[in-house]
């Protein structure tokens, strides 16, 4: 590795840029938090690094989780993009899968990222079985390119029907486009996603093209900014699947960064949990408007095949499965016309935010309820934007909007808001655990981000989780995740063949070739790996079904070279199907839809114990205050601790509040928190 021995993880959020330093030579760690610099995020990153390192030359590797892609998609700030497509099909992107944004209410609106006059058709056609029906007319392609350039397009996507089955026409068109297109911002649908389903492929490829210029520019600024600052090492970017990729790969496939930011947090969660002896966990990230949960089983996070960043903006690449519900600190509590207490989905967000921020919102939120109950310290707002929170305004809002309509006391009302919010969050946890056949008893909840730690105690009771684990620095979890994330390369290819008719020699050959190509991509960067793993999966189904089951094949490269047999594939399918649906279907033939190959370069992890608290000291030394807190219908005198001062091995009995700069933890009266050797607080039911 060029440069020095420090690895830097960087998470750029809306408000703060978090930087995590790991010195590989002596294993020491450090964190920095600086304001994010909108417009040019690299300035904030450099500032963060220089806050702790005088010489950036010490840094050998910067790993970066970025929200640039996510924001460009959500705010529709990608490049002006054109599409060249098969005659008769220019509206695929706009017609979607004939859906609507909400089940109820017909007021949907959708504007595709590529307007209709930048979607141009050319003569060509491939049939579903790969037959070349009509060769591509390259003169028309050249005309289309000229039209798109004249109309100001900066990036282009080539999307032909059935190109997953035979990419010949599409490749010929890409070659023709490359000869004229003024820059490298060209995306081919069969290159980025050779998978059946035209809208999903077109959308993914188009969004990739749409992101190429802004992500390309961003990465260039970042790299040159770092270089100007004296950095000579490598930069890696976190993908939505939780693995990292080289800057070069990110430039080519920027759509893979769609969920880069949150993915890094989940990866950190997996490592922290596994190190602490809890490889089964559910990460919970409570933000201003939403509550995001993700399940990690046996140290591995679940991956989803696709996600919609917004209505009609579908990205189909493997991503860490994150379930989001509208229950955040800013979620608004109200009594509906039927007299029921509801929390969200309406939200005051972080601006204007809760009533207690005093920025103009007067409807009570979850954060207001926490403040009224005494669980948040009005004098110490998290995040550092405000000096003080306005408790009186929060009280007044809860009185007016909740307590009076229900005919109850304001304190009862505030507690009710929290309970219903907890129930909603518990529902999200149940959704990712119970409903997928995981027993919550075997899982621990891990809050990260600012707000979650106030609610985790209630969540473990409500859902029946065994424990909750609050990492030592919940606010920098994502930056930490960057430092330890593995490198990863995914590839999918639609095969669409009957299991009984599959040529296993061909299949094995394709699997090997894809794996080898992926490995080469990994080795392009100068990153050291502990080892390289290959995962081979088939998406399979009974003939007649449209949804597939992911079937992991129990083979490795060596095994593949020795051959692959149909009986083993069938057995793997039947096991996976039975696990999902509880029953097999007799007499129905089986089809293989897609092949998925993943190559993972395992990066060395570091011992989290170095984050742990100093030895010695006592719990009493960490006690800073006592405060009255409303719990279950009464005020309780509650101890308040400086969380980072609590020594290893100390047990904090509930009720207690633990404060630290980036979060506040509430331990319910019937729970207790144990500080482990990594500095995590492990909350569980009190021993009787």
């Amino acid at each position: 590795m060029a440069g020095g021995r420090t690895i830097v993880g960087v998470d750029v959020g809306g408000t703060f840029t978090d930087v995590f330093f790991l010195n590989e030579a002596d294993g020491s760690c450090d964190v920095a938090k600086v304001p994010s610099t909108r417009g040019d995020q690299s300035r904030g990153i450099l500032e963060g690094i220089s806050q702790r390192r005088n010489d950036i030359g010490d840094v050998g590797l910067v790993v970066h989780g970025t929200t640039v892609g996510t924001n460009a998609l959500l705010e529709r700030k990608g490049a002006k993009t054109g599409i060249i497509t098969t005659e008769g099909f220019r509206d695929v992107l706009e017609m979607r899968r004939r859906d609507r944004p909400q089940t109820w209410g017909l007021w949907g609106v959708f504007e595709p990222v590529v307007p209709r006059n930048l979607r141009i058709e050319v003569t060509e056609r491939v049939l579903a079985d790969g037959t070349l029906h009509t060769p591509v007319d390259l003169d028309e392609v050249a005309d289309a390119v000229r039209t798109l350039i004249a109309r100001g397009a900066e990036a282009v996507c080539i999307f032909f029907l059935n190109s997953y089955a035979n990419p010949e026409n599409e490749r010929a068109a890409v070659d023709a486009v490359s000869r004229i297109w003024p820059n490298g911002h060209i995306t081919s649908s069969s290159d980025i996603l050779p998978e059946i389903r035209e809208f999903e492929r077109c959308s993914t490829a188009t969004l990739n093209a749409y992101l190429q210029p802004p992500i390309g520019d961003y990465l260039e600024r970042l790299e040159s900014g770092l270089k100007d600052g004296g950095f000579s090492g490598d930069v890696l970017i976190v993908q939505s699947n939780g693995g990292v990729m080289s800057v070069e790969t990110a430039r080519t496939f920027p759509v893979r960064t769609a969920l880069s930011g949150p993915a890094a947090g989940v990866i950190a969660g997996a490592h922290i949990g596994t190190s602490a002896g809890f490889p089964n966990l559910i990460t919970c990230d409570m933000g201003g408007t939403s509550f995001d949960v993700s399940l990690i089983a046996d140290g591995e996070s679940a991956l989803a095949a696709q996600t919609a960043v917004d209505f009609g903006m579908v990205v189909r690449t493997p991503m860490i499965e994150i379930t989001t519900i509208g229950a955040g600190g800013g979620s608004i509590a109200k009594i509906d016309r039927g007299g029921l207490l509801q929390i969200g989905p309406e939200s005051a967000g972080s601006d204007p935010g809760p009533v207690c921020y005093g920025l103009g919102n007067d409807r009570p939120t979850v954060t207001d309820a926490n403040l009224v109950l005494g669980r948040i310290n009005a004098a110490r707002p998290i995040g550092g934007k405000l000096d003080r929170l306005d408790s009186d305004a929060a009280r007044a809002a809860i009185t007016q909007h909740i307590a009076e309509p229900l005919g109850i006391d304001v304190m009862e009302a505030a507690e009710a808001v929290i309970k219903v919010a907890n129930a909603k969050m518990a529902g999200a946890i149940r959704l990712v655990s119970v409903e997928r056949g995981y027993d919550p008893e075997h899982f621990v909840a891990m809050p990260f981000g600012g707000g979650g730690a106030l609610h985790t105690g209630a969540l473990i009771k409500e859902v029946g989780l065994s424990k909750a684990l609050v990492p030592r620095y919940p606010g920098v979890t994502s930056a930490l995740g960057c430092v330890i994330a593995d490198m990863r390369f995914d590839r999918v290819h639609t095969l669409n063949v009957m299991l009984d008719a599959v040529d296993t020699a061909d299949l094995a050959e394709e699997m090997i070739a894809t794996a080898v190509a992926g490995e080469e991509r990994l080795k392009e960067s100068n990153v050291a790996f502990k080892g390289i793993e290959h995962v081979f999966e088939l998406d399979m189904l009974y003939v007649g079904q449209t949804h597939t089951v992911a079937v992991k094949l129990p083979v490795d490269l060596k095994g593949l070279r020795a051959g692959l047999d149909v009986a083993a594939i069938r057995a793997a399918f039947e096991e996976a199907y039975r696990q999902t649906f509880g029953r097999l279907l007799k007499g129905i033939p089986i089809r293989i839809m897609n092949l998925r190959v993943t190559v993972i370069g395992r990066r060395p992890k570091f011992d989290l114990a170095i984050l742990g608290p100093a030895k010695g000291g006592s719990l009493d030394d960490a006690l800073t205050d006592t405060r009255k807190i409303w719990i279950e219908g009464a005020w309780h005198e509650t101890d308040v601790y400086n969380r980072l001062e609590i020594p290893e091995g100390a047990v904090v009995p509930g009720p207690a509040l633990l404060e630290q700069p980036d979060t506040t933890i509430f331990v319910d009266p019937d729970l207790e928190g144990l500080v482990d050797r990594f500095g995590n607080l492990v909350i569980s039911r009190k021993a009787r």
Binding site: G88, F89, R90, D91, V92, E94, M95, R97, R98, D99, R100, T103, W104, G105, L106, W107, G108, V109, P115, R116, N117, L127, A128, D129, H133, L161, N162, Y164, I196, R197, E198, F199, E200, D336, R337, G338, G339, L340, L341, Q342, L406, A416, K419, V420, A423, G427, L431, E435, N496, Y542, V543, G544, Q545, T546, H547, T580, F581, G582, L585, I588
Partner: protein, 578 residues
């Protein structure tokens, strides 16, 4: 009786809804036919042990089932009482009788009694649209049926499972009456699994909270739903408001059929009077009373989105649906095209409600399901049936132009990917595009419908279409104009372009290799006066090809070049003249 605090109630509401949602998800994932797996034409819920009323229903199932399923459960309750059947845990009834619980023969309902402490606690039910249930037309949208017997097999409520054991004789009877027995077997198993899962989840919830509390929650949720609906009605101005809409024909005689509605608001009650509706017809666009009520519920829930899926919502509403009308038929009147009629009921509800609450409604959506099937035999003798519903435009609305190419208001169905259709059937799409000038003019334009053109790749096949809106276009509201009518073309004997005599309904179209059928679907109705549309928006529509320059001049009085450049002066003059 146990009383519940508001917190517990909110918590239990979420838990109960999750059970139904999870049953939905299980069937969607395991179903065989794309109508369930992709189009989500299915639904699950919990129903009252004595009345069959909907207690809780899943959020992702087909909206129209929300109202209809309670009638299906009631049919089972009545049968059990009439025949003195002793129920056991693990029993499952199956049937598709459309007069007992609504909709049409394609929808198979499975109803399972749920016991608690040896006593019947409630019913769990699952409904799903099967791919083929026999009858004259593959896919069962038979536009020329005059009796239900021509539409498919008709199964009355019978016991599919006795104490958890599936009666394989019933499965054999069902399978031998379908063109696609494998698909049927897969869907049936998916529905049985969904009910099993519901049983487990509900038991867990009862273990956790106890019967009394769950019962109290169910009662309170119904009351709260009724209060909520009543509070919305109370805010509307009292009075009687009227409107009508039309079906093209019944597929047998080319005569329009009227759906007439007089809606009266009086305090916190609403009366929906369908007396001015045409009598029952010979063809398959009749519906049963339960289906009519369900479709009114769907329209109301689109307007008042916050009301829950539970029987309480209908409490403040009185229905007057004459038994002689096509909205309240019994056996053996054909009902196979029920989707068309309920879409029309929804449309007439929107039109009348737009007079009462103009800022809460929207132009009508495209208003036809366009069930198009193509079927034949492959060279190896295997039967193939491609059956799908097609999309169209949504109406303009106060917040913007209507959605292009949306799904029908009665469902949340997505369309299968055309690449999947091409991979599964011997067809090739030659066009899959938005249809210019199909959106109704308005201050907020209706969304565009679509053009689908399909070419046959096998030697020969038959095509069938069941659609509507070929004569009567989707209406605009609050001064908005109508969308374009539905168009269908097929090759005649000489290879020329023919249109069906019944406009959008046709059976037995013979196709040969290389021949094409073409469907042009309606756009949505406009919202507000088109003269109030910003000329710059009209010019944009022309530039992007949603509206032609000719239509910009005729419908919006805007002078725009074909390239989309607005002539402001000429536009001002033209708008002044009008």
């Amino acid at each position: 009786m146990t009383t519940l605090d508001p917190v517990m109630l909110a918590v239990l509401k979420g838990r109960l809804e999750q059970i139904a949602d999870e049953m939905d998800a299980t069937l969607f994932r395991s179903a065989f036919n794309p109508i369930i797996a992709e189009a989500h034409d299915a639904s699950h819920g919990l129903y009252h042990a004595e009345t069959g009323e909907t207690l809780v229903q899943g959020k992702s199932g087909l909206p129209v089932f929300v109202g209809a399923m309670s009638f299906a459960v009631k049919a089972v309750i009545d049968k059990v009482a009439a025949e003195g059947i002793t129920l056991h845990p693990g029993d499952v009834f199956i049937f598709n009788d459309p007069y007992e619980g609504g909709t049409h023969l394609s929808d198979f309902k499975l109803v399972r009694p749920f016991f608690r402490g040896g006593k019947l606690f409630c019913y769990l039910a699952s409904v799903g649209h099967w791919h083929d249930v026999g009858g004259n037309v593959p896919g069962n949208y038979n536009p020329v049926a005059t009796e239900c017997y021509q539409e498919g097999m008709l199964i009355p409520p019978v016991l599919l499972c006795r104490a958890g054991e599936i009666n394989q004789d019933i499965v054999a009877i069902l399978q031998s009456n379908s063109r696609l027995p494998g698909s049927l077997y897969g869907d049936l198993n998916g529905q049985v699994s969904a009910l099993e899962l519901g049983e487990i989840r509900l038991s867990e919830l009862l273990d956790e909270y106890g019967e009394d509390r769950i019962n109290a929650a169910l009662i309170e949720l119904k009351k709260s739903a009724a209060r909520l609906m009543a509070s919305f009605i109370e805010e509307l101005p009292d009075g009687t408001y009227s409107g009508e809409d039309w079906l093209d024909n019944d597929g047998i005689t080319d005569m329009p059929l009227k759906i007439g509605l007089d809606l009266t608001i009086s305090g916190d009650r609403m009366t929906l009077d369908f007396s001015r509706t045409s009598d029952a017809c010979d063809g398959p666009v009749n519906i049963s009373r339960s289906t009519c009520i369900a479709s009114c519920y769907v329209a109301l829930k689109h307007i008042f989105c916050d009301v829950p899926a539970n029987a309480g919502v209908l409490e403040p509403i009185t229905f007057n649906i004459p038994e002689t009308s096509l909205l309240s038929v019994g056996r053996p009147k054909p009902v196979g095209g029920y989707t068309e009629t309920i879409l029309r009921v929804v449309d007439v509800m929107f039109q009348v409600m737009s007079q009462v609450a103009p800022d809460m409604t929207n132009g009508c959506a495209y208003g036809t399901i366009n069930a198009l099937s193509m079927a034949g035999y492959r060279k190896n003798g295997a039967r193939w049936v491609m059956f799908s519903f097609f999309g169209g435009g949504h109406g303009g609305h106060p917040a913007g132009d209507g959605l292009n190419h949306g799904n029908a208001p009665i469902s949340t169905a997505t369309i299968p990917p055309l690449e999947i259709l091409e991979a599964a059937y011997p067809v090739r799409f030659t066009q899959w595009a938005l249809r210019p000038d199909s959106g109704g003019p308005g201050k907020r334009r209706g969304g565009c419908g679509a053009v689908y053109e399909i070419e046959l790749l096998e030697e020969k096949a038959d095509a069938f279409l069941f659609g509507e809106r070929g004569k009567f276009a989707p209406a605009g509201v609050v001064g908005g104009g109508p969308g374009a009518v539905n168009k269908f073309f097929y090759p005649d004997e000489n290879g020329g372009r023919a249109e069906p005599p019944m406009v959008s309904k046709m059976v037995g179209i013979k196709l040969r290799h290389g021949q094409r059928v073409r469907l042009e679907t309606p756009g949505g109705g406009g919202y507000g006066n088109p003269m109030d549309r910003d000329p710059a928006d009209v010019a944009d529509d022309v530039r992007l090809g949603y509206v032609t320059a000719t239509a910009a001049r005729d419908r919006y009085k805007c002078v725009v070049s074909d390239a989309g450049v607005l002539d402001e002066a000429a536009t001002a003059r033209l708008r002044q003249e009008t």
